[in-house]
Symmetry: C2
Amino acid sequence: MKAKSRLGGQTIAMNQNPPKITSRASIVGKKEGEGPLAGYFDKILEDDLWGEKSWEKAERRMYIETAELILKKAQKEPHDINYLFGGDLLDQIITPTFAAKSLGIPYYGLYGACSSMTQTMSLGAVMVDGGYADHVLCVTSSHFCTAERQFRFPLEMGVQRPPTAQWTITGSGGVLLSSEGVGPVITHVTTGRVIDFGVKDANHMGAAMAPAAADTFRAHFEDTGRGPVDYDLIVSGDLGKYGRQITIDLLKKDGYDIESRFIDCGCEIFSEDQDVHAGASGCASSATVLAGYLLKKMEDGEFNRILIASTGAMHSTISVQQGDSIPGIAHAVSIEKRG
Amino acid sequence: MKAKSRLGGQTIAMNQNPPKITSRASIVGKKEGEGPLAGYFDKILEDDLWGEKSWEKAERRMYIETAELILKKAQKEPHDINYLFGGDLLDQIITPTFAAKSLGIPYYGLYGACSSMTQTMSLGAVMVDGGYADHVLCVTSSHFCTAERQFRFPLEMGVQRPPTAQWTITGSGGVLLSSEGVGPVITHVTTGRVIDFGVKDANHMGAAMAPAAADTFRAHFEDTGRGPVDYDLIVSGDLGKYGRQITIDLLKKDGYDIESRFIDCGCEIFSEDQDVHAGASGCASSATVLAGYLLKKMEDGEFNRILIASTGAMHSTISVQQGDSIPGIAHAVSIEKRG
């Protein structure tokens, strides 16, 4: 017994009607808009509140405007879209839920912490490839201020951050997956397992997520028979500089050398002098860098085939308070420019 | 342009390799085990902690044991299962995430509040029908004590509950969806939209969810051309007695009379004298009643075709504190006994 689109292990091939990424958009915060990728984003906020009454409402507005921008660029209306797959970091994923209410699109809420972007794309891709949808909207968001006050300390306390801490991206990014149209194609989906190396420090999430990233990349290579050289670029979501190095080291032990072609979105979006310590994090890290920078580089022909895995650290304040470690998860998708 | 398995609107047909429900299990708390459906559940807890150090850890153990029971009944091991789709009510859906870590199965975390059970089944069904999986495990959970302290008040305060309040089910339930084997078949999936009638009372969630339930049932009837008489039973997740009546009334205005064949899991699991006010709620309401009671009745030939929609109230403490209303969502699946 074998499902026809399974390669075995954790990977499935999109070989029925491979989904095309026909539109993309990204909005980022002020600090992100001062970084090296500033020119690739569609909008940059003037401040963290963006004229709203709370940071949560500002995050929601970013999410909705990102979705609307994606639709506008594709010349689509909400009623043309079969599904919205969405995620964020907030309790009860309130951002995509209220956005789904505004947009009126049939909605599946997902939670994978910062792995949400490729999680939405994995499930959205199956919907299109399998003939269940013509257009699926995949959007995620995060906000530095909403994440800090929920997971760590009130910002007003001014708690000092250790060197391994990461800076949650304020932003929202997303893509439209379509059965027809022009754009790079999603060819494979490798679904992550929850991997735990026993890290308990919420200020060292790169170390918590790296084993999951390595596990998913290894599974992808084994399942597809591909190796690092088959990709122009291998990308992780928000491992930061320490997590990136741990992932490289773990994969070397498995015989895969990815170092020369491996970037982490969380290391790319800020420059060294922006004082973010280990790098960026958040659902919006991979979402904005993919939708803004990476897909533009694919359009320009600089990369033809990339493997991207958003990476999530799976903890809650309750789980940390009750002594649980912080396991990680990473979901990978292969994206290829064709024709 | 039309995806081959779309019926249009919000509904897709499982007509490629329709998933069979080949195994099921349910575990409930002590109070649920004193109700009218007690004989249908696999295990009943002696108390809310079940020997664990916290209610959250007890919920996690229920979830893992439910998953293990489903596998045991199907004579499967975790490595036979392609995906675990899971959800619960807790911040960062920590229960299925840590269960996924224990089980080692590739994992997609979902959040749809109490609509999670049919949300997991909707996406799991697509994975099997489309040829992406041979076995998908769908499990959700909730726990009265973990939900009350997260969403409402510390239990120690003994806050009085109004008559419209519902009682979150302590339990976990789930099913195994398989490409081959014996069991009732999932034939249609109708995905819900987020619907908001402006309810702001977290102690009147039936009213918050009823418009979403009515919207999804109406969409299902319109998309499929079926009517209430085509089903032996129409089931909602946890509307409670007030929400159930509102749903009946709303659908009557649309020309659909479901009253005589419509039950709500939240109204079935407790008896009137168990003092739960408007009825039960929680992901485990539809999960345990479906996995324990309804699928047993289908096996026995009492029902041959049912339509079930788990129903979710989409709020967080932050969204309520910031003045947002509580929108609802409902995802429906049709289940049919064949042969």
